[in-house]
Symmetry: C2
Subunit: 233 residues, 2 copies
């Protein structure tokens, strides 16, 4: 399997980065091909703007999604975007490895999503969800957070983690057509013992050996909706 | 009322920016004091990293939230962050005005959230939700999107917009203690007529005249939970 890991933690010595480094080693040992974009290390630019397009379809008025299509067709997108798109298209599995910032990705990773998962290629019109442009690929979120598990359950103070991450798991990753594997979550990371961190590393190693056996998260199919996206009854 | 508008659209001639400009005018006419941070125009840096701290509590290992606290107490946070914090503390109402990118904010605005809504001031330990550091202030999201209303209902293909925005409305804005007014949403914006856009501008003007009468969104109170954040029965 070809695995593309996109990671985003501002501290190279963090436990989050240790999970990333473990996955590079373990996936390699398992015979997978692995490529990595460490967004902080790359100094990745997260700001979607006119500078992303070297040849504008409409120089007077920026519709970002339309220029994405035009720039991809004409190979005039910014080189850093094209480089990331090449890796997305190459991979069978995309792993996003990040610390939870405000129940979402750090901005540097949000910008990777905004700029790299381009219109026309990953989605467009009614090509989304199980008709999305990246259908056939798998994806998994690997995240660390400060909260404890009981805070993010149905009855917990924040409700379910999957509900807080709906914009990402369903609204972004599944939107592009990818099968979304269950997130790997390391809880309460700033406060736990070395022993507990070791247990998480071991659990992640086990998880990485089970990638083909994991059941993806269940989301609606577009088959449940008509051409105007009204629910079929 | 003192109103702080944070806006983030890459096209200054966009309809999204027109809503922003309308609100500046209308709120002024209504006698409110208005300040604006146009993040694209400012070239705002959205990347949370070590450069945000001019005096590190721990130079060897970056725990971003801890350095936020230290940097705020010692006034050694990066000047752009301090400038934004000053405006957040000044305001009675914070408006986030942005186009929906992947069911969330553009990365430049996510970075504003990551860097400006600092630990220790806006939240910390069990100071969140209705005990958050910004309690007493109001906030409202004003957003434009391409989708149609029927796609974001209970029965729609994406479910409710409020559920897609849970990480922002509840997990971020309410987290800091602010009262979250119902979002103002302009639907299907790239595809609608000038007449429809005019109707949205008029509806927004009406909305801005009703700010004191709007019922905030309902979220759990920490009074429903014990000291360990287990739900009281």
């Amino acid at each position: 399997m070809r695995v593309f890991i996109v990671s985003a933690h501002p501290e190279p010595k963090s436990f989050n980065t240790a999970l990333r480094d473990l996955s590079i080693r373990v996936l390699g040992d398992l015979g997978h091909d692995v490529r990595v974009s460490d967004l902080y290390d790359m100094g990745f630019n997260p700001v979607a703007d006119a500078a992303d397009f070297n040849d504008r379809q409409n120089p007077d008025y920026l519709v970002y999604a339309l220029e994405q299509r035009h720039g991809y067709e004409n190979k005039t997108l910014a080189p850093d975007i094209l480089g990331e798109i090449e890796k997305v298209l190459w991979c069978d599995l995309l792993i996003l490895n990040f610390p939870l910032f405000w129940f979402s990705t750090p901005a540097i990773l949000k910008g990777w999503i905004d700029r790299v998962l381009i219109s026309g290629l990953t989605y467009g019109g009614k090509r989304f969800y199980d008709r999305g442009g990246l259908k056939g690929k798998k994806t998994m979120v690997t995240l660390t957070l400060g909260g404890r598990p009981h805070m993010l359950t149905d009855d917990g103070v924040h409700g379910r983690l999957e509900d807080m991450l709906r914009h990402l798991l369903r609204g972004t990753l599944y939107y592009t057509g990818m099968s979304v594997l269950p997130p790997f979550v390391a809880w309460h990371v700033p406060y736990i013992s070395d022993q507990d961190r070791g247990d998480y590393l071991q659990a992640y190693e086990e998880r990485l050996g089970q990638l083909n056996d994991l059941e993806p998260l269940a989301f609606p199919s577009l088959d449940e909706f008509d051409d105007k996206l009204n629910r079929l009854t």
